[in-house]
C-alpha cells in the first residue's frame, strides 16, 4: 500500500481537543498548537489509512452533504503533511500548480470554507510569559519596559 494514496492521520504524541466547529491539536513533540477549521478537521479525521483522496471527496458528499473537489482535499492534506499531522509526509498532487493557485480556484467555486490550519508555537515555559524577553546580559539597561535597569541575568529575565 502506498502511503501517498492512503493518507493516515498521526495518532501518537498529540493532544486533541474537539471544539464546536473546529479541532485543536497540540503536538507534544514540537510544542506547536494547531487549529483545524471544520473542513481541515473533516479531512484529517477521514485519513484512516484506508481511504484515497477520491474516497474522501465522496465521504464529504455522503457524510457532510458537501460537494468538494479533489483539489480541496489535497489542499487539506498538504497542510496536514506540512504540520506533521499525518503518519507519513505526503506531497500534494496539485498537478504542477502552486498552492496559492489552487486556493484561488477553490475559493471561487467552493460554498464551504477552504481547509485552513492555523498554528502557533507554545512558549518555552511559564517564565517566558512573565519575562521582558531580554536575551543578552545587559539588555535590561536599554529596554525601557524592563522592571530593572540594574542587572539582567541573561536568560530572558530581568533580575534584581
Amino acid at each position: 500500500m502506498n502511503n501517498s494514496q492512503f493518507p493516515s492521520a498521526r495518532k501518537t504524541g498529540l493532544v486533541v481537543q474537539d471544539m464546536p466547529d473546529e479541532v485543536l491539536v497540540y503536538d507534544l513533540d514540537s510544542n506547536k498548537a494547531h487549529c483545524l477549521n471544520k473542513s481541515a478537521a473533516f479531512v484529517w479525521k477521514s485519513c484512516d489509512g484506508t481511504k484515497t483522496v477520491p474516497d474522501i471527496v465522496n465521504l464529504f458528499a455522503s457524510e457532510a452533504g458537501e460537494k468538494v473537489s479533489e483539489d480541496f482535499v489535497w489542499l487539506a492534506i498538504d497542510q496536514l503533511s506540512e504540520n506533521s499531522l499525518l503518519e507519513a509526509s505526503i506531497k500534494a498532487d496539485f498537478a504542477g500548480r502552486s498552492r496559492r493557485d489552487v486556493i484561488k480556484k477553490i475559493g471561487m467555486v467552493s460554498v464551504i470554507s477552504i481547509p485552513i490550519i492555523a498554528s502557533l508555537v507554545a512558549p518555552k515555559n511559564a517564565l517566558a510569559l512573565a519575562s521582558c524577553g531580554c536575551a543578552v546580559n545587559g539588555d535590561c539597561t536599554i529596554q525601557t519596559g524592563c522592571p530593572s535597569t540594574v542587572n539582567c541575568n541573561g536568560v530572558g529575565v530581568c533580575a534584581p
Partner: protein, 276 residues
C-alpha cells in the same frame, strides 16, 4: 557561586493551588519576611504545611552584602537591593505555581468582572494589561487580577487579587518605577467569588488606533490563548479542556485599542450594549 548547602538552614514548607514548595534560608528574619510576602500574594490559597516529599525547592540566602536566590539547589540569581530582590523572588514563586498548579489553569491575563461576567484580557508582561485593568476597575469593574486569569475545571475564573503593579511611563534614562496598589486604593473593589467568562479581548495599545474588532471563533481564541497559558507544556490536556470551557460561551474579540483611559469607558459601554 556554589550550590546551596543545607547547613544551618531555616526551612518553610508551603502549598498553593496543589503545588508543594520548600523554601530554605540561612537567615531566619529574611525567611519570616518572605512568608509575609507570599501570604499577601496568595492569600487564603497558601497553606503552611508539614514537611512533604518531592517539593519544588527554592532558597534565599544572605551572603555578605547581597542576596542569592536558588532554585532546585542551584544559584538562580542574586541582587543587592532587598526590596527588588524579594519582589523578583515573589514573581518566580508565582510563575512556578502558575505552571504546576494541579486543578487550575493559569493564563497570563488581566481580568475584571462586569455585571457578573468576566472580561479576560490575555497578554504577556509589558503588554499593557495592568494599565487597562486599572482603568476598568476605576470605572466600577470588579478586580480579579492584573497578572493571571485562574480558571477552574468548569471554566470559571477565580480572583487572583495581588496588588496591581502599576508601572511608571518609560522615560529616556530613567528606571521604570512600580507602585503596588489594591483595588480599593484606586477606588474600586476586589472580587471574592468565581464567575463565568463573558468576553475575551485580545488587544494592544496603538497610538491613534480605531476600534475595529474581529470576532474570533472559540478554536481561534484557544489557539491565541495557548501562548499565554502557563501550564500548556506541563499539563496540555487539562489546559486545552479548560480553555475550551472558558471560550465556549464567551464573545471573543481582537482589535487594537486607544489610550486605556478612553478605551476603558468605551469598552464597558460596548459590553453593555453588545454593539458589534
Amino acid at each position: 557561586m556554589p550550590d546551596q548547602t543545607q547547613e544551618n538552614k531555616n526551612t518553610f514548607y508551603f502549598e498553593a493551588y496543589g503545588v508543594r514548595l520548600r523554601l530554605d534560608s540561612n537567615d531566619s528574619a529574611l525567611l519570616d519576611e518572605v512568608k509575609v510576602i507570599l501570604q499577601q500574594t496568595f492569600g487564603g490559597n497558601l497553606r503552611i504545611t508539614e514537611p512533604v516529599n518531592d517539593p519544588i525547592l527554592f532558597g534565599i540566602d544572605r551572603e555578605g552584602g547581597e542576596f542569592v536566590m536558588y532554585k532546585d539547589g542551584k544559584v538562580f540569581t542574586n541582587g543587592a537591593v532587598k526590596d527588588v530582590f524579594l519582589r523578583f523572588f515573589d514573581s518566580m514563586v508565582r510563575v512556578t505555581i502558575a505552571e504546576h498548579a494541579v486543578d487550575r489553569v493559569f493564563v497570563h491575563a488581566g481580568v475584571v468582572g462586569w455585571k457578573g461576567k468576566a472580561i479576560v484580557i490575555p497578554g504577556n508582561s509589558f503588554s499593557g494589561k495592568t494599565t487597562l485593568v486599572y482603568e476598568l476597575v476605576r470605572r466600577g469593574a470588579e478586580y480579579f487580577s492584573d497578572e493571571y486569569g485562574v480558571f477552574d475545571a468548569d471554566g470559571l475564573v477565580h480572583p487572583f487579587p495581588r496588588r496591581l503593579a502599576v508601572r511608571s511611563r518609560p522615560e529616556e534614562g530613567k528606571a521604570i518605577e512600580t507602585t503596588y496598589l489594591t483595588a480599593e486604593e484606586i477606588g474600586g473593589r476586589s472580587a471574592s467569588a468565581p464567575i463565568p467568562v463573558g468576553h475575551v479581548l485580545f488587544t494592544e495599545f496603538r497610538e491613534d488606533s480605531v476600534w475595529e474588532p474581529d470576532s474570533l471563533t472559540a478554536g481561534q481564541a484557544v489557539l491565541e490563548m495557548v501562548s499565554h497559558t502557563a501550564p500548556i507544556r506541563y499539563n496540555t490536556k487539562l489546559s486545552l479542556e479548560i480553555l475550551k470551557k472558558v471560550t465556549s460561551n464567551a464573545i471573543i474579540l481582537r482589535s487594537c485599542r486607544s489610550d486605556a483611559v478612553v478605551f476603558s469607558e468605551f469598552f464597558l459601554e460596548f459590553v453593555d450594549n453588545k454593539a458589534f
